[in-house]
Every structure is written in structure tokens, then in C-alpha cells.
């Protein structure tokens, strides 16, 4: 299934299926991009399967979610593929790109930058939202009409943002400790100063709370888990998401957990519920 367009970097039998890491030349990013893929047994046998895109947070790579979230066994159980994109372009060679954890490398925020020098490569919204699904669906036996999306932290924001913007594509959505309203955080302000050339209003295209306020709606239920001992709680602001969903009439299941922090030890504690949430719809 992997050929000229997509190069296989590594492949490992896992849970009856196969975890692989791939590289491809991305048109949107103007660079080579890596992606992690779990194919369940059914896909290896040629059956068409649903997919869940899993988006990681700041500083992470295409490996993080697959290694740390313990999602593979549950995806295997339901016969669902997992697609794990990277969190930013790599090697754009922009001054300052590698200087801080919250901008540049590892911090693409799943947006399309509009300001130079970022706008040439930092196009994660178009990459994850369009280019990558099309490529994956050409390469593997995936059912384009059965896609879910989930993420953690910055990736949770990305998952909510993609699903609210394109509910026809992303049939199911969930998030762990998502950045609910990046425009109201110093992370988001810094990102907009660089990626949007200071035009903070461009967050309206991506900020989950602003999307809800603008009338975007997802027909499914947003499943969100949040730890109450999360160090980043003041930036994540699950209360803003709850208010925005209530005002917009958006179905949201927000579960807040005493004692859990921001780590993947938290994510793995609830991943089974998330995969089940997606499978209920994608496998219906």
C-alpha cells in the first residue's frame, strides 16, 4: 500500500495489526512530513475501515500519542485505524523556530499561518484537515465517510476546531484537556502575533469557543475529559467550552476528574471511553 508517494520508515506488528511510521512530501507544508499509522487486522486483510485522527500537543511528534495513550489495543478491538500527524512542520529553518516550546517546531496549533516567514510552511490546518486525509485514503483502505478526530491539549483544540469547522468530514470528536479558547490565552496571543502577524481576529477560524459562538455546530456529542490537577487548567479553561456549548446548543459531555494532571498517564486512564465513543458512531 505504501509506495512512491509515501515512504515506510518503520513497521511493527502490534495487537493483531500494524503500527507504522511513514514519511511523505507535503504540498501544504512544503517539506517532508512524518505520520504514524495503526492499521487494524481488518485493513491488513483488505477490508475498508474507519479512521480516528489523533492530534498531540505542544512539543510532541507523530510518535507521542501512539506510544503514550495506549489507544492501539482499543482501536484494534473495534477494527479502526489511527492516524497520528506531527504537531508542526519540521525543518522550515525559520529564525527562532526552535527557541521555545510554545511556538515554531512542535507548536503548529493546527492553524494556517498568514504572515511571513511562517506562512510558507506553517499550514497545519490545511495539512491535517485536507491533504493528509486525502493522502491516507489514497494509500490505505480507509472509508472517507467514517473519520473521527481526537486530541490532547493543543491537539484537543485542533480536534474540536476541525470537527466544528467540517462536521461532514469529522463524524466524531473527543478531546483530552483541550485548549478550549486559545484566543484568550498567552499561548494563543503569541501564536497570533507570529503566525497571523498580530491579527488576533484570525483565531475566529480555529478557536473552538469562537467557532461555537459564530454558529458552527457538530451533530455529534463532544466528549471532553479534563483533570482537575492539571497545571495548565487556567489556560485550558474547560468552563469557557462548557458555556460556549450551552449557549450554542452544542451537545457536550465534559467530565472533570479530581487528582488527574495534564500527562498521558491521565489520557491513558480514559482512552478506552474515547475510542468507544468514536466506535459507536464510526462502526454503526
Amino acid at each position: 500500500m505504501v509506495g512512491d508517494t509515501v515512504q515506510l520508515l518503520e513497521r511493527h506488528a502490534c495487537c493483531g495489526g500494524e503500527v507504522s511510521f511513514l514519511s511523505h512530501a507535503s504540498r501544504e507544508l512544503g517539506l517532508d512530513a512524518k505520520v504514524g499509522v495503526f492499521l487494524p487486522r481488518q485493513a491488513l486483510e483488505g477490508a475498508s475501515v474507519p479512521t480516528i485522527y489523533v492530534l498531540a500537543g505542544l512539543t510532541c511528534t507523530q510518535e507521542t500519542f501512539l506510544i503514550k495513550a495506549n489507544a492501539v489495543r482499543y482501536a484494534a478491538k473495534h477494527g479502526i485505524a489511527l492516524i497520528a500527524p506531527d504537531t508542526s512542520p519540521r525543518g522550515a529553518n525559520i529564525a527562532g523556530e526552535d527557541d521555545s516550546y510554545d511556538i515554531g517546531t512542535g507548536a503548529g496549533y493546527y492553524v494556517d499561518a498568514t504572515a511571513q516567514p511562517w506562512s510558507e510552511h506553517y499550514r497545519m490546518a490545511s495539512y491535517v484537515g485536507k491533504e493528509l486525509p486525502a493522502l491516507m485514503e489514497e494509500t490505505f483502505p480507509f472509508i472517507p465517510e467514517r473519520c473521527g478526530i481526537m486530541g490532547h491539549s493543543m491537539g484537543g483544540m485542533g480536534a474540536l476546531s476541525f470537527a466544528l469547522s467540517a462536521p461532514d468530514k469529522w463524524k466524531t470528536v473527543s478531546a483530552f484537556a483541550p485548549l478550549s479558547s486559545p484566543s484568550r490565552t498567552d499561548w494563543g496571543e503569541k501564536a497570533a502575533n507570529l503566525y497571523f502577524g498580530g491579527n488576533q481576529s484570525l483565531w475566529q477560524q480555529y478557536d473552538p469557543c469562537l467557532l461555537l459562538k459564530a454558529g458552527k455546530h457538530h451533530p455529534g456529542t463532544l466528549l471532553v475529559d479534563q483533570g482537575l490537577s492539571d497545571n495548565f487548567l487556567e489556560k485550558l479553561q474547560p468552563n469557557l467550552l462548557q458555556e460556549a456549548a450551552r449557549s450554542a446548543g452544542q451537545a457536550l459531555t465534559l467530565r472533570q476528574h479530581e487528582g488527574f494532571d495534564h500527562s498521558y498517564w491521565f489520557v491513558q486512564s480514559f482512552i478506552e471511553d474515547h475510542i468507544n465513543h468514536h466506535a459507536a458512531e464510526l462502526r454503526a
Copy 2:
């Protein structure tokens, strides 16, 4: 539970219990040592629980097995604690210690070195076999009579070695892709050249196949999983373990799996069976 003797480095709620990473001054190693611990809910509530020691392979740390093996959820299910030691002393400052992946840092082989300069710090057999269990049992509500041990690769060798040498302590044992007979590999020869000053015969105290040949016996069944696409198969030599167990009348369940390699993607695919194997006895 953690105090003067053991310092808490980090603690994360996970799967109803708690994953923590600790540091303590090790008498055997003559250095500070780190250890990962999963405490199930029952232990947090003050009940005494069984433990499984999980030993990682070359290049790994006290984090590797806990992060990558996906064992926590099954330990949680059975109310069993996990203890993840490091794979060598750290910071012994021996010339060449950090030069190769298969000797020195990350490559303690769970043996006690006898030759200078290694013998002062490289005492992983005494550390993991005696000092650490005593410390853990002083610190946490663990049942000293209900200990299991498992490991991966070099750690699989360690698990078999500890269990055959001290079956009264280690009631249950299992291994993923263990180094079955280190004395018959270039890894083992190199380790003996340095740690044992060239005295290859000291492997008789540790080499699982040589222990079986010398009459050591474990009353339980050794559960061993091995991938048949493992790059290290020629060094691991599961056939030698099978022959030694047969000759010695040692119960062994050796499962060989087509297509699986040496990675934790393999380990996580069969970890549930291993935890169940230990739980059946430790929770009986």
C-alpha cells in the same frame, strides 16, 4: 509513604491508582537510583498488595517499561503494584561508561560486577534482587511474600535469572524476548570481559540456561513470548531456553509469534496475558 529515604520526583494519577518516579540513595550502587512505581487504588487506600517487578532492556530507564508496555491498566485491574528499576547505575563516572549501548550506562545486565572499576557501582543483581525490594516493602504496603518479576530482552534475562536463583522471593516469572543464555553471546562475552574481568564462568550465577543446567528450578511456569521477526533472535536464542528447560524438567510456556519484532509494540500486544499469568498466582 515517601519520606526521608525515598524522594518523590513526580506523581501522576493513572487508572484509578498512581504512577510515581522516585529517587533514593542506593547502598549497593553507591549512587542515587531512580525507580518507577505504580500503586493500584487498593494500595492508596492502605491495603497490602502484591507487586510485579518489571525489568527493561539495554538503553532503557525506569520510565521505559511503564510508559511503553501498557501494563498499568492490567495491574490496576488486578490490584497489583508495578516496580520499574533502572537498567544500570547512573553517573558512576567510569571511562567508557557511556560509549556503547551494550556496556555501562543502560547495560547493567542485572549482575554484580567483580572487577575494577565496575565492581564499586555496577551491582544491579544485589540492588534489584535485595536492596530495592526491602526498600519498597518498607516504604509501601507491599506483601513481601507475593512478588512476581518480568522483563524484556536483557530484562527478560534478569527476570529469569532472579526467579531461578531465588524462587522463594519471586513467586511468578515471565519474559518478553529474553536473552536466554548471555554467556553464549557477544553481548555476554563483552560484559564478562569488563564486569567480571574476563572470568566468563561467572555467568553461571546469572545465565538462565546455565542456572537450569546447574539444577536451579522454579516451582511455577516460566511464561516467555518471542517475536519471530525479532532482529536479535540470534542472540536471544529461545531454542536454548527451551532445551535447557526440557532437560531440567522446568515448566516453560514458550510462545513464538510470527511477524512480531523486538519492540514494545510487541510487548504491549501480549502484556495482558503476562499480567494475568502473575495475577493468577499473586492474587490467589
